[in-house]
C-alpha cells in the first residue's frame, strides 16, 4: 500500500517537476541580456609557451620558452574585392640549442577579385591546401617547404602555421561543382634563415601548376580530382573522396599517383629511379553520442622506404641518413612506406570548455611511435593548454630518432 502511494505521489510529481524545469529555463531566458556580437575582419592572438624536454638516452632536462604573435586580416575593401593577410612571429629561447632565433612566417598575403558570384581570381601568397585526410595529405602538393618553424606536432597546428606559395589562381563554380586552376612561378633559389624573410626561396623554388575539379555525382558523393605538375616533375593525379556510412561516421580516401623518383633518390641526388608511385591516406572518423570523435587512418607512401631499404639506410653512413631525414622533414613526407595514425578529440570532456586531444603515429615499418596528448581549457578570450609528447623507438627509427624523447609544453593564449 505504501509502495502504491509512493508511486502515485511520484507520478503526480513528475509533470510538475518538468513544468518547474521549463519555468526555470524560461526565467533564465527572460534575464538573458546578451545580444549578438558584431563580426570582425581580423583575429589577433598572443601565445606564451614554456617547455621542458628530455633527450633520447640519459641527460638533463632542457627548458625553453616561446612568445608568439599571430594575426589574420580578411576584409572586403571594395565591392567584389577582398584582401587577406596572415602572419605569425615566433620568438623562441631554448637550452642547448645553438642559434636561438626569431622566425616570422608570412603565411598569406593576397588579393581576391570576385567578378561574379561564380568566378573568382586570386593573386599573391596563398595557402593552397588540399586533402580530406587528417594526418597525412598526399594531395596537399604545396606542403613541401612550407614550414619555417614547428611549434606543435598537432596536424592542425602544422596546417595553420605554414607558408603559402606565391601564385595566380582562378576558380569557376557551377551548381554541382567547381574548377580551380593555379600557377605558381619560380621566384627564389633557396630557403632563407633571415627572421623576416618572406622565404619565397622555400615555397617558390620552381614553377608549378595545379588543376582541381570537383563534381557532385549524387547527394552523397562529391569527389575532387587534382592534376599537379611543375618544372622537373611528372604530373601527379590526385583524388579526394568522402562518404557517410552512417549518421556517426565519416569515411575518407585521399590518393595521389604519378611517375616520380623515390624519395631516397631525390634526397641523395642518386640516379633517377622514376616509376609510377602511389600515396594513399584513408580512414574513418566515428563520433560517439558523447561527442568524442575517434579517427583511425592508414597511410601509404609509395616514395618512402620499405623495411630492408630503411634498415640499410639507418645502418649506412650517418650523413646520408641525416640528409634523407632533413629533406623529408622539409617535404613533410614520411621516411617509411606504411604508417598508422590515430586521433581522438573529446570536446567538453567531463566539464564544459575542457577539450582533450590525443594522437598516436605508429610506423608499421620500424615499430616506432609518437604519442601526443593535449588538455585545453578555454575561457571566452583565453586558452590554457598542457601538451605532452613521448617518442618511442629504436635509435634511428622514424620516431626514435627525434632529438627529444619526452616533451612537456604549457601554453597560454590570449585573443584580442
Amino acid at each position: 500500500m505504501r509502495a502504491l502511494l509512493a508511486l502515485l505521489l511520484l507520478a503526480a510529481a513528475m509533470p510538475a517537476s518538468a513544468d518547474d524545469a521549463d519555468d526555470a529555463a524560461l526565467l533564465l531566458a527572460d534575464k538573458t541580456a546578451t545580444s549578438a556580437e558584431q563580426g570582425k575582419d581580423w583575429r589577433v592572438y598572443v601565445e606564451a609557451a614554456a617547455r621542458e624536454s628530455r633527450r633520447q638516452g640519459p641527460g638533463l632536462a632542457l627548458h625553453g620558452a616561446r612568445l608568439s604573435l599571430d594575426a589574420r586580416l580578411d576584409t572586403n575593401f571594395a565591392p567584389g574585392w577582398r584582401a587577406v593577410f596572415a602572419d605569425r612571429l615566433d620568438m623562441s629561447r631554448m637550452d642547448g640549442v645553438s642559434g636561438n632565433r626569431d622566425i616570422n612566417t608570412l603565411k598569406e598575403a593576397y588579393l581576391s577579385w570576385q567578378l561574379q558570384p561564380d568566378r573568382v581570381a586570386d593573386l599573391g601568397r596563398i595557402n593552397a591546401r588540399s586533402g580530406v585526410a587528417l594526418g597525412y595529405n598526399p594531395t596537399d602538393y604545396f606542403r613541401a617547404g612550407a614550414l619555417r618553424t614547428v611549434v606543435s606536432l598537432d596536424p592542425a597546428s602544422l596546417r595553420e602555421n605554414r607558408l603559402g606559395s606565391a601564385m595566380l589562381r582562378g576558380q569557376t563554380l557551377w551548381t554541382s561543382g567547381s574548377l580551380t586552376a593555379l600557377y605558381s612561378p619560380r621566384l627564389g633559389h633557396q630557403p632563407s634563415d633571415s627572421t623576416f624573410s618572406p622565404d619565397l626561396g622555400a615555397t617558390n623554388q620552381r614553377a608549378r601548376w595545379q588543376l582541381a575539379l570537383s563534381q557532385k555525382l549524387s547527394d552523397a558523393l562529391t569527389p575532387q580530382w587534382l592534376l599537379s605538375g611543375g618544372a622537373g616533375q611528372s604530373p601527379q593525379l590526385g583524388l579526394n573522396v568522402t562518404a557517410l556510412p552512417n549518421d556517426a561516421t565519416v569515411a575518407y580516401l585521399e590518393w595521389s599517383g604519378g611517375r616520380a623518383a623515390s624519395l631516397l633518390s631525390q634526397a641523395l641526388m642518386r640516379p633517377d629511379d622514376a616509376a609510377f608511385r602511389s600515396r594513399l591516406s584513408t580512414g574513418l572518423t566515428y563520433t560517439t553520442p558523447g561527442n568524442i570523435s575517434l579517427t583511425a587512418e592508414y597511410q601509404y607512401n609509395g616514395g618512402g622506404l620499405n623495411r630492408s631499404a630503411w634498415e640499410a639506410l639507418r645502418r649506412g653512413p650517418p650523413p646520408a641518413y641525416a640528409l634523407y631525414r632533413s629533406v623529408l622533414a622539409s617535404l613533410q613526407d614520411s621516411p617509411t612506406r606504411d604508417n598508422v595514425f590515430l586521433y581522438a578529440v573529446w570536446q567538453d570532456a567531463l566539464v564544459k570548455r575542457l577539450d582533450l586531444t590525443a594522437m598516436v603515429r605508429y610506423d608499421v615499418v620500424d615499430h616506432s611511435r609518437l604519442q601526443w596528448l593535449e588538455v585545453r581549457y578555454h575561457w571566452s578570450r583565453v586558452d590554457l593548454a598542457l601538451q605532452s609528447q613521448l617518442n618511442n623507438g629504436i635509435p634511428g627509427s622514424n620516431f626514435g630518432a627525434l632529438p627529444e624523447r619526452r616533451l612537456w609544453q604549457a601554453l597560454l593564449r590570449y585573443f584580442f
Binding site: 521549463d22 545580444s35 549578438a36 583575429r43 580578411d74 552523397a220 563520433t287
Partner: protein, 257 residues
C-alpha cells in the same frame, strides 16, 4: 491567362476551400513552418547563450545565410562563426546530411557526420531552420490549453509528428501550435525509444521579413533540464544565396555582408 496559371489558380481555390472546411494537421504544420522560416533566401544573426545549473557557461554568435532547396524544401545554410574570438570567421555548410566545416586559418575543409558537433550549441540550429512538414507526418492529437513561453495560457492544437524517413534527427515530435494562427508555441523532440531529447519554446514574436516570427527559442535538454540554451535571432534581411555558393568549394570564398 494561360493554361498553367488557370490550373494553378484553380488549385489554390480548391486548397483554400478545403483548408477553410477543416485545416488538416499537415496544413497547420506547414503554416507554422512558414512562420519560422522565410519563404525566400534570407540572412540572420543568432546569439546563443548556454546555461548549466542556472549559470551562464558559454555564449556565441553566428551569422547564417539560408535558402530552401527547390526539390526537398529543406533549408541549406552557410554559417559563419562571429564570436567567441577563437572561432571567429570559421564556417560551416549544412545541406541535408552534407555537413562541412572550414577553418580559414588552416584552410582545412572537414566533412562532419550528423552526430559530430565541432563547436558548441550550433547543433541546435536544427530545431530552428527545418521544414518539419517535409520530413514528418502530422496528426492532430489534441486541442488543449498550454503555458506558452511567456507563461500565458494559450489555446493550441497539439500535433503528433512521425518521421517519414529514417535519416532525420528526431524520430517523433510533439508540437503545440496556436489554434488561432498556427504560430509555434512549444515542441518536444524524442528518440525512437521515446527518450525526450529537447524541449523548445518559441517566443518573442516580432515583425520580421513581412511576418510576425519568433525571435527567440529556448531549448531545454531532455536528459539534463538544467542545461538550457537561449537562441536569439536578429538582423533579419533578404539575401540572395546563389546555388553555386552551397557547396564545399565555396566555403573559403564565403564572406557575409
Amino acid at each position: 491567362m494561360n493554361l498553367e496559371r488557370l490550373i494553378a489558380g484553380l488549385g489554390l481555390v480548391l486548397a483554400a476551400s478545403v483548408a477553410a472546411a477543416a485545416p488538416s494537421a499537415q496544413a497547420i504544420l506547414a503554416a507554422s513552418d512558414a512562420i519560422r522560416n522565410p519563404d525566400k533566401p534570407f540572412a540572420l544573426t543568432v546569439a546563443l547563450v548556454e546555461y548549466r545549473n542556472s549559470k551562464q557557461v558559454d555564449s556565441s554568435t553566428l551569422s547564417v545565410y539560408s535558402k530552401a532547396d527547390a526539390n526537398s524544401g529543406q533549408f541549406r545554410s552557410l554559417i559563419r562563426f562571429v564570436a567567441p574570438a577563437r572561432d571567429a570567421n570559421k564556417l560551416m555548410l549544412k545541406s541535408g546530411n552534407d555537413l562541412w566545416f572550414f577553418d580559414p586559418s588552416s584552410k582545412a575543409s572537414i566533412r562532419l557526420s550528423p552526430q559530430q558537433r565541432l563547436l558548441g550549441q550550433a547543433a541546435n540550429g536544427d530545431v530552428v531552420t527545418v521544414n518539419l512538414a517535409k520530413d514528418y507526418q502530422a496528426q492532430l492529437a489534441a486541442e488543449e490549453s498550454v503555458l506558452d513561453g511567456d507563461r500565458q495560457n494559450r489555446h493550441c492544437y497539439k500535433l503528433a509528428l512521425a518521421a517519414v524517413s529514417a535519416d532525420v534527427t528526431y524520430h517523433h515530435i510533439e508540437m503545440w501550435l496556436d489554434a488561432t494562427n498556427s504560430r509555434p508555441v512549444k515542441a518536444r523532440f524524442y528518440t525512437e525509444s521515446g527518450q525526450l531529447l529537447k524541449t523548445a519554446y518559441y517566443r518573442r514574436y516580432q515583425l520580421q521579413l513581412g511576418m510576425e516570427r519568433p525571435t527567440e527559442t529556448v531549448i531545454i535538454d531532455g536528459l539534463d533540464p538544467n542545461w538550457v540554451t537561449v537562441m536569439r535571432f536578429g538582423d533579419y534581411a533578404w539575401r540572395e544565396v546563389p546555388e553555386v555558393w552551397l557547396q564545399r568549394d565555396y566555403l573559403p570564398r564565403f564572406k557575409p555582408e
